[in-house]
């Protein structure tokens, strides 16, 4: 193409490739004109001195008033296009423009652009989407990615000490532990080849975490898209959909997406219901490890579900299998309620598997805090009414639930309550005086535990063991 231009404009020996690229459009418009009125010397008005120089400035080829009108019009058009294009991008090559072979019939400049071979919907490459780790909810995340977003899910392996080490190394020391865990998860996901990271909006500072984590990861040199639902919080469904379309999948099917989203909610409820039963019974197992095995099977079953029907079936099978396991429940079992912060109270990796430690001691566990109760069925004013003697207003993301759950457990005559939070979690710190009052009013011991990025559970074991001894001895009296 350049040769052909050069051939027709021998006075302009264009050596610099970038200049060629910049000028293509002008030349092309020129050529359109050339087809109409050939032959024309484009450098007719150039000064004689300029002839010596191999590369000419653009001005030297401007056409004067004495040139034919058609040629001037074409050149003007070419320059205008050139300007418009340059405004869009200064250096990008014009990928879509190709020149016809000599003698081919042209009907206009638009004819230079060939027809798209692939329709738009097929030009999208499938995205690999990763979530953060959050208890057993990875099953729902997988379902959401595969059946709502219609993309590939990057399954993360079990978290290790390295996860939190990486996360802590890249975060501010004073930020709460969930931030560090999540950042470590993201790094592992990106190492596994994820294109898109998902952060949901949080009820507290968690809501800002997506943005901060995105910039930390970008500074660290990772390339990815961030599907951060915090950016559309409180907006319409349409905004959620367009965000998903923009970041993950432009061909997202609305009907399927909405139907499967409802199934995903059902899945959350199912998983939480199963977990409630598990926590209640697993401490009383007669065969060590039988409950853990059953849960593993159930999780695998649930993970394979691809529609609402599958979920319901898996749930039925899972609950039935769990209820059939042999248990020996003492007449008056030790019952402990777990309350606390959104992330630490729920995520076993964050609380050093506190639930397992209690279950191994034969304790019956109850935990109101989960996605079902906090997100799907959360009615804060209603819940607050049940603790109106302690709280007058909503104190924070999970505060009302923490207090209401604690009071509920105390009223039911539980033996103890464990309060979990990440170190420096302000809303939960605010809850602590209220919990201490509940502890005094109902004479129920409360163990307060605070977590940072520690991986050693020696101190935790001491406290849990002492707490258990205390409530068991108290019960024995």
């Amino acid at each position: 193409m350049f040769d052909s231009i050069r051939g027709k404009t021998p006075g302009n020996q264009i050596a610099d490739a970038s200049q060629v690229i910049r000028r293509q459009k002008g030349d092309m418009a020129e050529r359109v004109a050339l087809h109409a009125e050939a032959p024309v010397k484009t450098n007719a008005k150039a000064p004689a001195a300029a002839m010596d120089k191999p590369v000419q400035p653009i001005e030297s080829r401007r056409l004067g008033k004495d040139e034919p009108l058609t040629l001037r019009a074409a050149t003007f058009l070419g320059d205008a296009l050139d300007t418009l294009d340059r405004r869009r991008t200064e250096t990008a090559p014009f990928a879509r423009i190709s020149m016809p072979d000599a003698g081919e019939k042209q009907t206009g400049p638009w004819a230079l652009v060939p027809k798209r071979k692939r329709p738009k919907r097929n030009r999208h490459s499938r995205k690999k989407v990763a979530f953060l780790r959050y208890g057993y909810y990875d099953i729902v995340f997988k379902f959401f990615v595969e059946h709502v977003l219609d993309a590939d899910f990057v399954a993360l392996p079990e978290p290790t000490r390295k996860t939190i080490e990486m996360g802590s190394a890249a975060s501010n020391d004073f930020v709460c532990a969930p931030f560090k865990h999540i950042l470590g998860d993201y790094m592992e996901a990106l190492e596994l080849g994820a294109d898109v990271l998902v952060q949901f909006t949080g009820p507290c500072r968690l809501g800002y975490y997506g943005e901060l984590q995105e910039s930390i990861l970008r500074d660290a040199g990772y390339e990815f898209e961030m599907l951060n639902f915090a950016t559309v919080t409180g907006k319409s469904l349409q905004d959620y959909i367009s965000l998903c379309k923009k970041k993950v999948n432009p061909d997202l099917s609305l009907t399927q997406g909405v139907a499967n989203m409802l199934a995903a909610f059902k899945m959350i409820e199912s998983l939480d219901a199963y977990n409630d039963l598990f926590l209640r019974l697993a401490g009383h197992e007669t065969e060590a490890g039988s409950f853990e095995r059953a849960r593993k099977t159930y999780f695998a079953d649930m993970r394979a579900a691809s529609c609402r029907h599958d979920i319901d079936e898996a749930q039925k099978r899972g609950i039935a299998a769990l209820e059939q396991l042999p248990v020996s429940i003492p007449a008056d079992p030790v019952r402990v309620g777990i309350v606390g912060e959104y992330f630490t109270a729920v995520d076993a990796a964050s609380n050093l598997d506190l639930e397992r430690k209690f279950l191994d001691m034969g304790v019956e566990l109850y935990r109101m805090m989960n996605l079902t109760n906090r997100n799907l069925r959360y009615n804060e004013p209603n819940l607050r009414r049940s603790v109106s003697e302690y709280v007058n207003f909503d104190m924070g993301p999970t505060s009302t639930m923490t207090i209401a759950a604690a009071k509920n457990y105390a009223e039911q005559g539980f033996d103890g309550i464990v309060h979990l939070k990440s170190s420096g979690c302000t809303p939960e710190i605010d809850c602590m005086p209220v919990l201490q009052r509940i502890s005094r009013d109902y004479r129920i011991p409360i163990l307060f535990l605070s977590y940072d990025s520690q991986t050693s559970d020696t101190g935790l074991d001491t406290r849990i063991e002492a707490f258990y001894d205390m409530i068991a001895m108290r019960k024995a009296r």
Binding site: M432, R440, D452, R463
Partner: protein, 322 residues
């Protein structure tokens, strides 16, 4: 032969040991510095205790260990009971003082409060992430002031006007202290101020939200400091009881728990720790990506115990005895 029970409390700073008879009376007591080597400290304590009793008339039928090195020492001594220090302290104190309602405890690295009702612990709290206002803070400051920490209490009592020292955080307390020294406060006022700061810090952190009801028993190494005791009495407005054996209460509780253990699990103790060499070795488990650090304890060349694995895959079990 009279039956007896051994209790060892291996803390971060000191190691305590007692031998009690079946009625719970202390027959032998020992208190030594741990000096960063819990295994050796336990060995020295056992040796010390063995010298105090008539080995021909008394036989130790069960051992209980507690304190932060309870697991290691428990493995070495083949203990019947390995119990956390909170339970051990509660058990020991309620046995000696059945009417106690509040137990204050300040040790070398930790501090705790235990609330008791009808002789049974109903609530407790323990310091969390930091060791501000504990024994190790006092001894480092004693070193700075050029006094022995044992003399601290006596010096504090001579002060008429304790200096005001911020004790919320050890780092702040230290800079506050240095500042007060440099501007010329008398030494006894500074020491009294430190004692007061320890008490205030304790009540504001560990004791926060807990109802402190008399009778109050104060124990742990810091309870030997009369200055801190006085500060507690001033702050609480009630008498604070310090048992002469208060620093041994963890070991005493461990011995009581060992005595409570059923006969079937009792393991007689032959005072033969000196005949063996105990070694620990750290193994990094390669069975999964978590790479747990597993501690293996060897008695001579025989593996007797291991811990540190998160899951069953990393379990290293001693060979079953033939």
């Amino acid at each position: 032969m009279e039956e007896a029970f051994l209790g060892i409390d291996t803390g971060s700073v000191s190691t305590k040991g007692v031998i009690i008879d079946t009625r719970g009376a202390i027959m032998a007591r020992s208190y030594l510095w741990t000096e960063g080597n819990p295994g050796d400290a336990a060995r020295r304590v056992v040796e010390d205790l063995a010298g105090q009793i008539d080995r021909n008339a008394v036989s130790v039928v069960a051992v209980g260990t507690t304190g932060s090195a309870r697991r290691l020492v428990g493995a070495m001594l083949d203990a019947t009971v390995v119990k956390n220090e909170i339970t051990a302290h509660a058990v020991g104190t309620t046995h000696l003082h059945p009417d106690v309602r509040t137990i204050l405890e300040i040790g070398g690295q930790d501090s705790k409060i235990i609330c008791v009702e009808d002789g049974v612990a109903v609530d407790y709290a323990m310091n969390t992430l930091c060791a501000a206002g504990t024994g190790s803070f006092l001894s480092s400051q004693a070193h700075r002031l050029g006094v022995e920490v044992e003399e601290f209490g006596e010096i504090a009592l001579t002060s008429k006007k304790p200096a005001n020292i911020a004790a919320r955080c050890t780092v702040f307390a230290e800079s506050d202290l240095v500042h007060k020294i440099q501007v010329g406060y008398p030494r006894e006022d500074i020491i009294a101020g430190l004692c007061k700061a320890v008490a205030t810090n304790y009540l504001n952190n560990v004791g926060k939200g807990k109802k402190i009801v008399a009778p109050v028993v104060f124990q742990g190494g810091v309870s030997k400091n009369v200055g801190v005791v006085k500060s507690f009495e001033d702050a609480l407005g009630m008498e604070v009881l310090v048992d002469p054996d208060g620093h041994l209460m963890g070991a005493y509780g461990a011995a009581l728990l060992a005595a409570d253990a059923p006969d079937a699990v009792r393991k007689p103790f032959a005072f033969d720790v000196n005949d063996f060499e105990f070694r620990t070795r750290e193994v990094v488990c390669q069975k999964c990506a978590n790479h747990c650090e597993i501690i293996c304890v060897y008695k001579d060349d025989e593996l007797i115990d291991s811990w540190g694995n998160r899951c069953d895959k990393g379990a290293i079990r001693p060979k079953a005895k033939a």
